[in-house]
């Protein structure tokens, strides 16, 4: 008789140590065994339980996409490039000078946290400008500091685990695709000590092709720039092929994008999701339209919030050109294809990630312009 492997063992040996961790933060701060330190999960001691919350929350843990989709969307998992879509539009906050793209995420958060019952917003922020980290803010006045794209994975959901120990209220959560997926697992898990079960959180997803591994990225930055204070990073649209670093003193430095790509979190290579399919509403840049965001409205909750902002003229919208939608779908489909190949290479398809039959073929057969 074989003993079931402990959750800790699977999580640390099969996921973290095999480069599968998405660095979403869902598994940490739940217990003394998994904690966060300077951009890495540390685990000095071993837990010997099975069925732990850590592994059940993990977006890279054993996952049946069909089951999750049915629970979350009330529909099947079809492997379409953008996931379930109610509406795709372009949007921006008029005159939002401080935001990196269209300012829509900040506006959505500000509006969402003012709604009844919301205890605040969970965002991923820079801590001492060294490593991004999750933070729950109840005062929207703090928000501008957290705006902007940080590129490094930040384990933001750790802060949610910490917050919920003392506060059961729902939150507005801004997260990457892996974090949106983890959140749905957190909301769904039937476990006597699951403090996230059935929470009415609002999930704002961010488009993501990859995130950087925090420690190596930090080391590279220190190697290049020492202790100079960075205000933000940016990847300008192709064919620039570079990574821009903006310093507090107004200076700017450029790093070849290939250098940065070598620091990509290895766990991102097996991620099927570019547009945060499990979020209520997903937001990304609108390529080719400076100062605009692309917004995918997915759930009624996401739609209601978006329409409120639109109605109050806090944001303005315009239709996403067909070519742009096709381009977005193509990019998302490409991520899925690459991830499927990577999963197959690591022998994780069906072992770790289960897709409904036919989905794999649908992903590989996706033709640009022919998708939904």
């Amino acid at each position: 008789m074989s003993r079931e492997a402990t959750s800790f063992k699977v999580l640390t040996e099969e996921i973290i140590e095999k480069g599968e961790c998405a660095r979403c933060g869902a598994c940490v701060e739940l217990c003394p065994y998994l904690s966060l330190y300077e951009g890495a999960i540390v685990y000095p001691d071993a837990c010997d339980l099975t069925g732990g919350r850590c592994l059940s929350f993990c977006p890279k843990g054993p996952l049946d996409l069909e089951a999750l989709a049915r629970m979350c969307w009330n529909g099947p998992y079809e492997g379409t490039p953008l996931g379930p879509v109610s509406k795709v539009v372009m949007a921006r906050v008029p005159g939002s000078a401080g935001a990196q793209y269209g300012g829509v995420v900040t506006a959505l958060v500000r509006a969402a946290v003012s709604e009844n019952g919301m205890a605040g917003a969970l965002l991923t922020a820079w801590k001492d400008r060294a490593y991004p980290e999750g933070a729950v803010l109840d005062d929207p006045g703090d928000l501008p500091y957290h705006g902007g794209v940080h590129y490094a994975a930040g384990y933001g959901l750790a802060a949610l685990n910490r917050f919920r120990k003392s506060n059961p209220s729902p939150l507005t959560i801004v997260g990457l695709p892996c974090q949106a997926m983890a959140l749905r697992r957190m909301h769904a898990l039937d476990h006597e000590r699951n403090i996230h079960r059935n929470k009415d959180d609002l999930v704002i997803g961010l488009f993501c092709t990859w995130a950087l591994e925090p420690r190596p990225f930090r080391e590279e930055m220190i190697r290049r720039f020492g202790s100079r204070r960075v205000t933000r990073y940016d990847i300008p649209p192709p064919p620039a092929n570079r990574f821009d670093v903006f310093f507090e003193d107004g200076d700017k430095a450029e790093i070849p994008l290939d250098v940065i790509r070598s620091l990509v979190n290895p766990g991102c290579r097996t991620c099927l999701d570019m547009t945060a399919e499990f979020a209520d509403i997903s937001v990304g840049a609108a390529e080719g339209f400076e100062g605009w965001n692309t917004v995918i409205i997915r759930t009624p909750k996401g739609a209601a919030l978006f329409e409120r902002l639109n109605g109050e003229r806090i944001i303005e919208t315009r239709a996403l050109p067909v070519a742009s939608l096709a381009h977005l779908s193509e990019a998302a489909a490409m991520k899925k294809k690459k991830a499927l190949n990577a999963l197959a290479e690591k022998d994780l398809l069906d072992n770790r990630v289960t897709l409904p039959s036919g989905t794999r073929e649908a992903i590989f057969n996706f033709q640009p312009g022919g998708g939904k």
């Binding site: 739940l30 217990c31 003394p32 065994y33 330190y37 300077e38 890495a40 540390v42 685990y43 000095p44 001691d45 837990c47 010997d48 339980l49 069925g51 732990g52 919350r53 476990h191 006597e192 000590r193 420690r215």
Partner: protein, 639 residues
């Protein structure tokens, strides 16, 4: 001044039940020993502790030296001035002293000089198993083996007399089962102490001229072959023409006697007890070898007598003809570990074709049944409240946070348990006293060759004085970037709280200025940081910071041994587990305090499924309150 001990009384005829080590001390007192020195080490420590109770600056100087080499040097200094002197050590200690001993043998001695070495067969309280008898032969010094309690007293007296008359260092070997066993000893008189130490003009103690001095050693040994043949310590009991003779020494004598009695084979088997095992007492052993054709050699640990007998037989085949020697080579006696009567019984059962059943099986079953549960099932580990537990907790966490898969080089002391779960298995190497730092120095220099795993060396305070200082000087001289952590618990705790240079007290009860570990490290050139390991966050942060440095670092974790602190200052806190907050085995804890932190003062109650404090053994250190993830363990300050 330590309290007097019955062993110190000048009451000839008085009988006392003495530990083997006390009997050895009594022998030294009856021989008129004037200086005794040692470094603590089981199973030898009680020799000096006993002698310390008879110490007197004018008559008998007793000291805990910083290490065994210095102890033997101190004893030799006294001998060169004509006084009788003793150095005691365990088997590992002889290795430390051996460099000096292998020169001292050639130099010769004036006052009788006896080295008592207590071997630890089975390595019960040692880092190795080692038969030191070969080292006596290797360095051409005479070897006696004690095999009982009064025997130990007599033999030490005999060793002093012969050492003085032959001008030769003598080695007396004991083993754990004798050093720590007890038996009756009837006291002889204590001699009058008289005469001043004096170094005569014209005297010199040097190994030169080497060849002449070496030759002289061989002459002394040659002479002793006959002296030993007449020694009262070599005896034979049994038939004139036995089927088999058991040749035995040390504790093997007692086990062999027991085996012969239990098997009721005294009429078939003789027993030859050897007290003088190097050089071989040729006349006596020749007579023994002529009595029979079959011999079983029973000795701990290695085949020392066995091989020497075979060598003697091989050189005298015409005289002895064909003889068979059974023992370790033949597989009749185990070749590792300590002996027990059943080993001798087993060998004799085979060789004599007899059988023996100690007890009916039902009786054995009954005893097992009645006694199981009387002993608490507890793994080898640190005592409740031990500062080392907190130290290794911080080290373990710092290494995990550092994330480069760093390792710890261990050393000799209670903290050697960092090899095992009680110390979170962080230590990955363990050799001799002080070796942790030396080995780490060899790892640190590999950074320039691409090594990216940090190294931490741990070292106790007594170990620091014993052998770590040269390694630390080497670390600074050859710039090896690693972290040295001195675990200063202000005690030589593992061997029984003997004083050391940092404690400010000698074993003769004199107060002296303590030598601070920190001062020594600073003088070598380290920027030392001293921490209280019970302050877990600060300790962990200091280790992390030190791990990131590219120069050698020294940290001192200073906190008195829990057993001493309990005696001196009592409990700081009364600890309590809030059962409401304790979540026990549930996800989020999984018995973190009892299963991972592992202080024996915390116990898991499987019925309530909560942790509890074992009031009987908790020392009230308060550390567990800081590690409980649910903040369910509370401290209550005791005045």
């Amino acid at each position: 001044m330590p309290p007097r001990h019955p062993v110190t009384l000048n009451e000839p005829g008085r009988a006392e039940l003495l530990m083997g080590n006390e009997a050895i001390a009594r022998g030294a007192l009856e021989a008129g020993v004037r200086v005794a020195a040692a470094y603590p080490g089981n199973p030898s420590s009680e020799i000096i502790e006993t002698l310390a109770r008879a110490s007197d600056p004018k008559r008998l100087h007793v000291q805990w030296s910083v290490n065994e080499k210095v102890a033997l040097e101190v004893a030799a200094g006294a001998s060169f001035f004509g006084l009788r002197a003793l150095a005691a050590m365990k088997q590992n200690g002889l290795n430390v002293a051996y460099d000096f001993l292998t020169n001292l043998n050639l130099c010769g001695v004036k006052g009788g000089l006896v080295v008592v070495v207590c071997d630890d067969p089975g390595g019960i309280s040692s880092s190795n198993e080692q038969d030191t008898r070969f080292m006596a032969r290797l360095t051409d010094i005479p070897l006696l083996e004690v095999s009982g309690f009064e025997n130990a007293r007599d033999m030490v007296r005999y060793a002093f007399d012969l050492s003085e008359s032959t001008g030769s260092v003598f080695m007396v070997r004991s083993v754990t089962r004798i050093s720590h066993g007890r038996g009756p000893v009837t006291f002889g008189p204590l001699p009058e102490i008289s005469g001043n130490p004096r170094f005569e003009p014209g005297e010199a103690f040097t190994p030169f001229p080497i060849l002449a001095k070496h030759e002289r050693r061989h002459e002394v040994l040659k002479g002793l072959e006959e002296t030993f043949s007449a020694s009262p310590f070599n005896t034979y009991t049994g038939p004139d023409d036995p089927e088999l003779i058991v040749v035995t020494s040390g504790i093997g004598v007692l086990f062999s006697e027991e085996a012969l009695d239990l098997l009721e084979v005294r009429d078939r088997v003789g027993i030859a007890r050897m007290g003088t095992t190097w050089p071989l007492p040729l006349t006596w052993i020749g007579n023994i070898l002529e009595k029979s054709t079959r011999f079983l050699v029973v000795e701990e640990v290695d085949p020392f007598i066995e091989n020497n007998l075979k060598e003697f037989l091989g050189g005298n085949t015409r005289r002895f003809g064909t003889k068979t020697v059974y023992g370790k080579a033949s597989g009749h006696i185990p070749s590792v570990g300590g002996l027990a009567p059943e080993h001798v019984i087993g060998a004799l059962e085979t060789l004599l074709e007899v059988s023996y059943e100690p007890r009916p099986r039902a009786y054995i079953r009954l005893v097992k049944e009645k006694t199981s549960g009387l002993v608490i099932d507890r793994a080898l580990g640190f005592c409740p409240g031990c500062p080392h537990r907190a130290s290794f907790w911080a080290i373990k966490n710092a290494l995990a946070k550092d994330g480069r898969k760093g390792i710890v080089t261990g050393d000799i002391g209670c903290y050697a348990m960092a090899m095992w779960p009680s110390g979170y298995s962080v230590a990955k190497t363990l050799q001799a006293m002080g070796s942790g730092i030396g080995v780490a120095a060899g790892m640190g220099i590999l950074d320039t060759m691409g090594k990216d795993q940090p190294v931490i060396a741990v070292c106790g305070d007594s170990t620091f004085f014993h052998a770590a200082i040269p390694a630390l000087v080497n670390t600074r001289f050859n710039t090896s970037p690693f972290v040295t952590i001195i675990l200063d618990n202000s005690a030589t705790a593992m061997t029984g709280f003997q004083p050391h240079p940092g404690t400010g007290m000698t074993c003769m009860g004199q107060s002296v200025d303590p030598i601070e570990v920190e001062d020594i490290c600073r003088s070598i050139g380290f920027a030392v940081k001293t921490l209280d390991p019970f302050d877990l966050p600060a300790t962990e942060a200091a280790v992390l910071e030190a791990l990131r440095a590219d120069r050698p670092q020294v940290l001192i974790f200073k906190r008195t041994c829990a057993l001493l602190a309990l005696k001196e200052t009592g409990k700081a806190y009364r600890m309590r587990v809030d059962a409401e907050r304790c979540i026990g085995e549930a996800c989020g804890c999984d018995r973190y305090c009892t299963r991972v932190f592992k202080c024996p003062g915390l116990i898991w109650n499987p019925e309530t499924e909560k942790a509890e404090i074992d009031e009987a053994i908790c020392t009230g250190c308060g550390v567990c309150a800081d590690i409980c993830p649910e903040r369910a363990i509370h401290r209550e300050i005791l005045s």
